[in-house]
């Protein structure tokens, strides 16, 4: 089978880091990622099934890995070599189409009793991601034993699989996983009714988060930042009330929240907006950079909540406002089970399936590539916004490629 494999190779990793810093996505050319022919992997356990991907998305965390920007934090949480790819719609051997829920929790690791988080349905918080029958790996796509979506085949535990309804396109189905991230963030945000929420970033995560906020919360105003015209249009279509450029967000939130501002770090002219005295009830940072987090701290109201959805690495941050304004800074990683307003619970993926359908999120898949053109695909994904794209995916539906052994 064909696969894109990521090996532990420090010189190539360093080269990828350098190349990726010059041209995003360029790490694919010089780094540890390579297109290889592999023997089909052994099944990790008796219940495991083979999945032949149809579409497999490229996400920001994948790009960080390819370009050598991932935090060293992940080193003990992955097992080399691995095949990336965790946003997958594929076929089982009986031709059932499935979407992968990639988190490798206690069930897939054959650990009993399950940890408290898995027992509660909070799979993303699993305490056993380096234990059990599998090599370390927080998700399919970072675990050596399972393979990953950037291949013509990989293995999945039945607990990870969700059947795809007949009417749902592959493009829509591949959006379920990232949409589940947005849905989880929307619930994590605890947006007050009639509140003001700011969403920083309008890449895939930002857009699906806006859709999720509109579907599952009742804010007065959603302010979103978008760098590019197509992002701006989509943010507007998906439910943002006000879409502004990233450097305009402080003024926009000030106006939406009806608060005052402090200019020029206290030294600048009045009328300038350095930070707000009040601000947004909730900020969802879908970027995860020093700059976006600094914005988040500047625009969240005292006692407000900042949800970090975009994957950060090492950031430099002035935390005084977090302390002084008694802000909450919480992470939002993957998904699991959500508590609904009526007291019931639902699996995030089920909510995501519904949202993908209702908001027509399949339209966010704007470019696909065969595996053989992975360098182009990754560079396209790394510059998606400026090229008018949102989600870039590998298209593995070519039968010759899928059936190659």
């Amino acid at each position: 089978m064909k696969a894109l494999r990521f090996r532990r190779n420090l010189p190539r990793y360093a080269a990828a880091r350098l190349a990726g810093s010059l041209t995003p996505g360029r790490g694919a050319t010089v780094g540890p990622l390579e297109l290889v022919d592999l023997d089909p992997p052994a099944e990790p356990g008796p219940d495991w099934v083979r999945v032949r991907p149809r579409l497999s998305g490229i996400c920001g965390s994948d790009l960080a890995t390819v370009d050598g920007r991932s935090a060293r934090y992940f080193e003990p949480l992955v097992s080399f070599p691995f095949v990336p790819g965790h946003e997958v719609v594929g076929d089982l051997d009986d031709d059932q189409r499935v979407v992968l829920e990639p988190v490798l929790g206690c069930a897939s690791r054959n650990i009993t009793p399950a940890c408290a988080a898995c027992t509660d349905g909070r799979l993303g918080n699993c305490e056993h991601t380096t234990f059990g029958d599998l090599s370390p790996g927080i998700q399919t796509g970072s675990c050596h034993d399972t393979g990953g979506g950037w291949a013509t085949a990989f293995h999945a535990h039945p607990s990870q699989l969700h059947p795809v309804p007949d009417g749902l396109s592959d493009e829509a189905a591949v959006m379920v996983e990232p949409t589940a991230c947005g849905v989880h963030a929307a619930f994590t945000a605890r947006v007050p009714d009639d509140g003001v929420v700011a969403v920083l970033g309008a890449g895939t995560l930002g857009l699906v988060t806006i859709a999720a906020l509109r579907a599952h919360t009742t804010p007065r105003t959603i302010v979103a930042t978008a760098r590019y015209p197509d992002q701006r249009r989509l943010a507007d279509e998906l439910g943002a009330d006000l879409v502004v450029a990233p450097d305009e967000v402080r003024r926009a939130v000030r106006r939406a929240a009806g608060t005052r501002a402090i200019g020029g770090n206290g030294q600048g002219p009045e009328g300038d907006v350095d930070r707000l005295t009040g601000g947004a009830d909730t900020v969802i940072d879908c970027v995860g950079s020093s700059s976006s987090l600094t914005d988040a701290l500047a625009i969240a109201r005292p006692g407000g909540r900042i949800v970090l959805l975009g994957m950060p690495a090492v950031v430099e941050l002035e935390l005084t406002p977090l302390w002084h304004r008694e802000l909450e800074l919480v992470g939002s990683y993957t998904y699991g089970t959500e508590a609904l307003p009526d007291g019931s619970t639902a699996r995030t993926f089920d909510l995501a399936f519904d949202l993908v359908t209702r908001a027509d999120l399949g339209r966010l898949v704007t470019a696909t590539y065969p595996l053989a053109r992975y360098r182009e695909a990754l560079q396209h994904a790394a510059s998606a916004g400026s090229r008018g794209a949102v989600k870039v995916a590998f298209d593995l539906r070519d039968e010759r490629e899928r059936n190659a052994r």
Binding site: L242, V244, A245, E248, R251, A252, R254, R255, G258, T259, R260, A261, G263, G268, P269, E270, G271, D272, V273
Partner: protein
């Protein structure tokens, strides 16, 4: 009248451009362009040369105060011990550019105060009638009223800027038959006499607008500073055909009926904007009369400006003070005074023009009423071009309906954060959404007008009120409705597009783009302004 100091001023006129016509000077913000207009189908409207100023302004002022117009007693007869006297005066937006000392306001106010002192009046307040404009700084107030007046009144809190958002400082005097609230400064309303001191730079100024607008806040202004009214002000420089003025006149009646006694003092200036001598004198010369020295001076000036950063250029121009001279002063009852004032403004500015044009061109200067000592941001560019210059007509607009307006200005994406905080938000958020004045008014005006931070900055800092950028946009709404296209030459393309206009690198590009709208070989009229002119279009 001449006093022998200068040759008799020549009236304004219309030049038909032929092959021998030299390139025409266009203002271009803090800089200039020389543009060759197509021969055979272009014309240039030149302003009149500056009228002579009154030879003895102090004597003329005193004469006006003692010989009022209309149904008014002479000022001394209206003054008595124990009375409350409020002197309100035009703010920093007049005249443009600021005039050399002594400012006319200083001359008039000193004369009024002398009479008040003679009459034993000791309860006197002086108020800058700025409505929702930014507050004037101490330096600006000193320049307007003079150091002697400032030092006598300001330290005691008796000379100050109007605060139209002070809930205790404003009152509603009543309602016009059209249901318009008349919002008014409480101190003025409770005074026995309000003396209003005006500088009438253009025919839009003065009359009941001085007090009904200058001493009002948003509650009152919203009744005439709106899209409907301004689209029906044709033009807002022609009081008798202006819905804006009709509303102010209705409000003036309510003010009068509420018992507020107003003694109006209006003055006019000539259009000696850049001086008959000095570094900018050639800006008010006709190009074919430029001497070799003028041409060399112009090239040196333009070359020097081109290498300077924009803020340095701006600072150089900000230091310019016009040598305006007062051409008339009249006092007494508001409407009688204003009729004479308007005639005197027209005597300086009105230029007869036959017929409309397909394309109207204008070079926008570095200054407008709302960027004195500040930045001419893109919204102000729009307002100066479409709000002020477009409306400098009587009869019909200079450009035909569906025609094209071509303006020359750098239009930087730049704002003064202290003076124009709400402008930044208006530009970034409102105009990014829509440029339709009706939509803007419907969806955004109230939020901005009631925004607590903008109100705070207006009251305590030097910010224009939150709703002010809306009024700038509405000011151009008649032009927006009338024109087929607006093109800005030499502007920041992104800023120009945000305004909803088209950017062009050169005038010839702009004229080619205009032909898409008005057809090939269009007629072109250039309004050579400033010095100010007003077209009397038949």
């Amino acid at each position: 009248m001449t006093n022998g100091r200068h040759p008799a001023p020549r009236p304004g006129f219309v030049l038909d451009v032929d092959r021998n016509t030299p390139p025409i000077l266009f203002h271009h913000g803090p800089g200039f362009r020389l543009e060759k207009l197509p021969a055979g189908r272009s014309r240039v409207i030149y302003p009149a040369e500056p009228l002579e100023g009154l030879p003895d302004p102090e004597a003329a002022i005193r004469h006006a105060l003692l010989n009022p117009l209309g149904d008014s007693a002479p000022l001394p007869a209206l003054l008595r011990p124990g009375m409350k006297l409020t002197i309100a005066f035009d703010d920093i937006s007049l005249p443009l550019p600021p005039m050399r000392r002594p400012d006319i306001r200083q001359r008039v106010i000193e004369a009024v105060l002398d009479l008040a002192a003679d009459a034993g009046v000791d309860d006197v307040h002086l108020i800058a009638a700025l409505a929702i404009h930014r507050r004037m700084t101490e330096d600006e107030l000193r320049h307007a009223v003079g150091d002697r007046v400032y030092d006598a009144f300001a330290p005691k809190g008796l000379l100050y800027n109007l605060d139209a958002e002070d809930p205790d400082g404003m009152v509603i005097l009543g309602e016009t038959p059209h249901g318009e609230d008349v919002h008014f400064c409480r101190r003025a309303a409770e005074s026995d006499l309000v003396v209003y001191v005006n500088i009438n730079l253009v025919s839009m100024d003065g009359g009941h607008k001085s007090t009904a607008t200058g001493l009002a806040g948003y509650t009152g202004l919203r009744h005439h500073h709106n899209v409907h009214t301004l689209r029906n002000s044709k033009s807002l420089m022609d009081r008798k055909n202006s819905a804006l003025h009709a509303s102010n006149w209705r409000m003036g009646s309510v003010i009068r009926d509420a018992g507020v006694k107003i003694f109006q003092i209006e003055t006019t200036v000539n259009n000696d904007t850049f001086g008959r001598e000095g570094p900018l004198a050639l800006l008010q010369k006709r190009e074919w009369e430029w001497t070799g020295r003028d041409r060399a001076q112009f090239l040196a000036m333009r070359t020097g400006l081109d290498v300077l950063p924009s803020n340095t250029r701006r600072k150089i121009f900000d230091t310019w003070q016009a040598p305006y001279q007062m051409t008339s002063v009249q006092a007494g009852e508001v409407e009688a005074v204003h009729e004479v004032t308007t005639d005197n403004v027209y005597a300086q500015q009105l230029v007869p023009v036959e017929g409309q044009t397909d394309v109207l061109t204008m070079g926008l200067p570095y200054i407008c009423p709302y960027n004195v000592n500040s930045i001419m941001n893109p919204i102000l560019v729009m307002c100066l071009g479409l709000g002020y210059f477009f409306n400098l007509y009587r009869g019909r607009p200079l450009v035909r309906e569906g025609g094209v307006l071509v303006m020359s200005h750098p239009t930087p994406w730049e704002f003064h954060p202290v003076h124009h905080p709400s402008y930044i938000d208006f530009f970034e958020q409102v105009l990014a959404d829509t440029t339709d004045p009706v939509e803007i008014e419907r969806r955004y005006e109230k939020q901005f007008a009631e925004d607590e931070w903008y109100i705070h900055l207006y009251r305590t800092s030097y910010a224009y009120h939150g709703v002010h950028p809306f009024y700038m946009w509405y000011w151009g709404s008649h032009a927006l409705e009338h024109l087929g296209r607006v093109i800005i030459v030499g502007g920041d393309p992104a800023a120009v597009r945000r305004l909803g206009f088209q950017p062009a690198s050169t005038l010839s590009d702009a004229l080619e783009m205009a032909s898409d709208v008005v057809g090939p070989q269009p007629t072109i009229t250039h309004m050579k302004n400033p010095p100010l002119l007003m077209a009397d279009v038949t």
